[in-house]
Amino acid sequence: MLSRRDLLLATAAGWVCPRVPADERASTAPEVLAALPGKQALIQRAFRPPNFETPLAQLAAPFTPNDAFFVRYHLAVIPRIEPHAWRLNVGGASVQHPFSVSLRDLRGSFERASLAAVNQCSGNRRGLFSPRVPGVQWGNGAMGNALWSGVRLRDVLKRAGVGAAALEVVFSGADSAVLPATPNFVKSLPIERALDENTLIALEMNGQPLPHWNGAPARLIVPGWTGTYWMKHLTDIRVEPKPFDGFWMKAAYRVPTGAFPGARFASQESAETTPITEILVNSLIVSPQNGARLKRGERAELIGKAWDNGAGIEAVEVSSDARRSWRDATLGRDLGRFAWREFRMPLDTSGAGPLELAVRARSRNGARQPDALTFNPSGYHDNIVQTVSLEIA
């Protein structure tokens, strides 16, 4: 049975044919909007452990508001931490002077550092995967951009004295599992990434103390790497001469070895799988949303965001002819190489009919969004070219 919309399209096309939507990858998961304490209503993917996604409209601002920022936990015991009671322990077999520091002393003893960066969950867009894969069925909003402020991890490690044999830095936080048998969420980074000047211990997000649900009072910021490394409620840092062998490194957050570009995590790599590391070049159409109707002759604009691993966005291209030809969109203000970059392009609304747009971003390192998904069993790294189907009437 043809709807009125199909008939309009059929008329515009000149003959009747089944309409194939440009983007059939809509998540089938129902979207329930609900608010955690201190948060706006977000898309509730799961209540406990809490996994809440930022709605598309809230991804329009240059900096994602703290109360709209996505929430992602693996384990359900999430203590509210009193800032004056919190301590950070720095130690491990590869440091000379282990120490423990209060929040006040951490803030007071190290140089302040700030940067804007995208925090993107490794599994962002998993719910759009085909074939479907188990896991939190995220749409596009397991990501956001924020200004993170705190101290450099490097400065903190230097005070402890990093030995020459240091291989990995291991991070754990205050949240934990219900059952003692469940592996705590512990992650490691290669020593060189930990000592990178852009790796921070953030105490603030967009100029405010970190929200509870985003890791208060301190979390790790690993710009350019996916969110799994951005340890929330950070309490312990250990520098070790051996690869960390916990579940969340050895069995989770892994991709087939060699399947994706990006930094290698050599000490954790096997012949079959390797840890997910850097964010792949990607873009998101924020508006108009898929299926929107535009008024003929009225001004309209395609708006979205593009981001990558920190190489920086070189260009965002838009096609309106089924990817045959591409035109450069106008890039917005550069908020820093780890942040997302807004893009805009005026839309031609002079003629009635369907308008299908495809968007692809290109990184300064030459990487471009692919047309086809590289399937992997955990549903990571969906950075394929996005499309929206609009209608001008």
Binding site: L36, F47, V178, L179
Partner: protein, 99 residues
């Protein structure tokens, strides 16, 4: 409760009073069928139940078997072999390829 009230009030201010956003809650009801009580009882120890319908489109019998095995072996869920079989039968009958 007070916190939830504040969140709702903040939400109302942001979204307009016409539509109060619901406070997040744990209220998923799994399908009534043999094995439901056991499944609920074991799963809710560690997580809320919407993980089950949410993953249904991605699961089949082999997938659920793998998931149950992961919960037992990796995450230490206290589920006996016999219980695992009953939970698998329930999940497969009610949440394989269906949302």
């Amino acid at each position: 409760m007070r916190r939830l009230g504040i969140a709702a009030a903040v939400g109302a201010a942001l979204f307009g009073s016409a539509r109060l956003p619901a406070a997040a809650a744990e209220d998923t009801h799994l399908k009534d069928a043999p094995g439901r009580e056991l499944t609920v009882g074991r799963c809710i120890v560690c997580h809320s139940l919407e993980y089950i319908p949410a993953n249904a489109p991605a699961e089949n019998r082999a997938g659920w078997q793998k998931t149950i095995q992961k919960m037992r072996e990796r995450f230490g869920a206290p589920i006996t072999d016999e219980e695992a079989q009953q939970i698998l039968d329930y999940l497969d009958a009610n949440y394989s390829g269906k949302s």
